[in-house]
């Protein structure tokens, strides 16, 4: 259970990116966050694991206040929060197995990590998850040799290695072609169900959001202006979320509107 209350984030002296935002995410569900570029989606996710420092407000994960943690406490909290990145952020020159085991860095000591001597149960779990996503044959392949979709699957597995209590995904499919993107969304939905994991996904593609999420949150200028089941996201709600951002709206609709334009 993630509970966000009155979250404010301001970079420097500028206008706040998040303006007193409230959101709670319950267990075992996929929640998609949509909105224009600059609406604060990325900042929202990054405030949760404190890659970005919130200016004020409260974020609680299963009862634990995250905004005030420091040092070792923060690192122990971070390992309970998995994160998947738009650019994958894999350790490019290391092998797939090293990338996946890096998800355990919050748990193992420095020298075992340096010498790649991970506990056997970590290796077993890594191998099992790689098998689950169809990458078992690539354990010793370098990450930079994989295709985009394979890389993002490694990213997902790495996050799951943390045995997270929540999975954050920041535009996980934006760097992928449409078909591969569908595959990653599918995988995250299935894993959410299999592992009873709440998943919070920032996403540009509204069609994918509607297909794979059980709940859609619309962000505009740092506030939530829509929060409902996908079926409730009608044209009126869509226009409110993307008001004044025609380019973003077209991108969010993806192929649907491109096709319409061609027909017209």
């Amino acid at each position: 259970m993630l509970e966000i209350q009155d979250l404010v984030k301001r970079y420097g002296d500028g206008d706040p990116v998040l303006r007193g935002l409230d959101l709670s995410v319950a267990e075992k569900s996929v929640t998609a966050v949509i909105g224009s570029s600059g609406a604060g989606k990325s900042t929202l996710l990054r405030c949760v694991n404190r890659l970005v420092e919130p200016t004020s407000g409260s974020i609680r994960l299963n009862g634990m206040e995250l905004t005030t943690l420091r040092g070792g406490e923060l690192r122990r909290a971070r390992r309970r929060i998995g994160m998947v990145f738009q650019g994958f952020n894999l350790l490019e020159r290391l092998t797939v197995m090293e990338n996946v085991l890096a998800g355990r860095l919050g748990y193992v000591g420095f020298f075992p990590a340096l010498l790649r001597r991970y506990p056997q149960e970590d290796v077993d779990r890594a191998y099992g998850l790689l098998k689950r996503v169809g990458l078992a044959k690539y354990v010793n392949t370098r990450a930079d040799a994989l295709s985009g979709g394979e890389r993002q699957r490694v990213g997902v597995v790495r996050a799951l290695m943390q045995e997270p209590e929540i999975l954050l995904a920041d535009e996980p499919t934006a760097s992928l072609d449409p078909k591969t993107a569908e595959g990653i969304m599918h995988l995250m939905r299935d894993l959410s169900a299999e592992l009873s994991l709440p998943v919070l996904i920032n996403i540009h593609n509204v069609a994918q959001a509607k297909t794979y999420a059980e709940r859609i949150v619309g962000l505009r200028h740092g506030l939530i202006i829509f929060d409902d089941v996908p079926e409730a996201l009608d044209d009126e709600a869509f226009d409110r979320i993307y008001e004044g951002d025609e380019a973003g709206a077209a991108k969010a609709l993806g192929e649907e509107r491109d096709d319409a334009a061609v027909k017209a």
Partner: protein, 272 residues
């Protein structure tokens, strides 16, 4: 598109020139004027005597005449000096490259707090501010003639060079990997070893090889001021007017430089 298609859009008399590099004309021509004035003053103030240059030619001919054919008779002395130079270079490179790693981290803006960075950079700049020959003179005074002075000199030289360039490599890494490791709950040392080290490792290996190359050359030079190796042998040969022996040493040094160039070039191609 045919020429005719754009003819209707043509306008007459629009002149175009590439904008000058320095926009202000006073500054632009002023710089040239100052440079010319300084050059005239510099040439006139330093005594450049054509007579002395001309007199140098027969003397050079005498030296070269004495140098040919090169004399390899004392090859054992040559070889021992040579091996000492290589030892100096290898030891200094190994120690210097290892010591340069922590200093590079401390002087990389993106991985340490600003005050640490400033101190680290100051140390690097200090290590780089003197030519190795000057450093060698100081170390020879401090620890006496011989290889130790040469090793210490080249360690300092290596630290200055490698840590500066390694720090720059660290500053250019892909930060996303660092964020991913932080998000997984990794502490500072684990982030360095997983997200930073692999990214700069090829650069560091390349730098180490390049520095070995440089140190092999420099180890022959620092010997001239008494810091051991083939340079000392060379200086003695010159001092005794043994030009043929000196020429043999020079040939040996050139061969060594060629050999290291070929070997290190091949290794570097191998890793990248």
């Amino acid at each position: 598109m045919s020429r005719a298609a754009t003819d209707g859009l043509a306008t007459d008399g629009f002149r175009w020139r590439k904008p000058p590099f320095i926009a202000n004309p006073v500054l632009r021509y002023g710089i040239w004027l100052l440079a010319a004035a300084y050059l005239v003053w510099a040439v006139s103030s330093i005594p450049i005597d054509p007579q002395r240059i001309l007199a140098g030619f027969p003397r050079a001919a005498q030296i070269f005449g004495g140098a040919i054919p090169p004399d390899f008779a004392r090859w054992e002395l040559l070889l021992s000096g040579f091996l000492e130079s290589i030892q100096i270079a290898l030891i200094a490179t190994a120690v210097g490259v290892v010591l340069s790693v922590p200093l590079a981290i401390l002087s990389a803006r993106n991985v340490v707090p600003v005050p640490v960075y400033l101190v680290g950079r100051a140390v690097v700049i200090t290590a780089r501010s003197f030519h190795p020959v000057i450093v060698a003179i100081i170390f020879v005074k401090a620890v006496g003639f011989g290889a130790l002075a040469g090793i210490l000199t080249l360690i300092l030289y290596t630290i200055g060079f490698v840590s500066k360039l390694l720090a720059e490599a660290i500053e250019e890494i892909d930060w996303g990997q660092v964020e991913a490791m932080q998000a997984a709950g990794a502490d500072y040392l684990k982030v360095l070893s997983y997200a930073v080290a692999p990214q700069v490792m090829p650069r560091q290996i390349g730098l180490a090889l390049y520095q070995l190359d440089i140190n092999l050359r420099a180890s022959t030079v620092v010997g001239i001021v008494g810091a051991g190796g083939i340079g000392s042998t060379l200086m003695n040969a010159f001092g005794r007017y043994d030009y043929d022996y000196a020429f043999a040493i020079l040939i040996a040094i050139i061969s060594l430089v060629f050999a290291t160039e070929i070997v290190s070039g091949r290794i570097r191609r191998g890793i990248s």
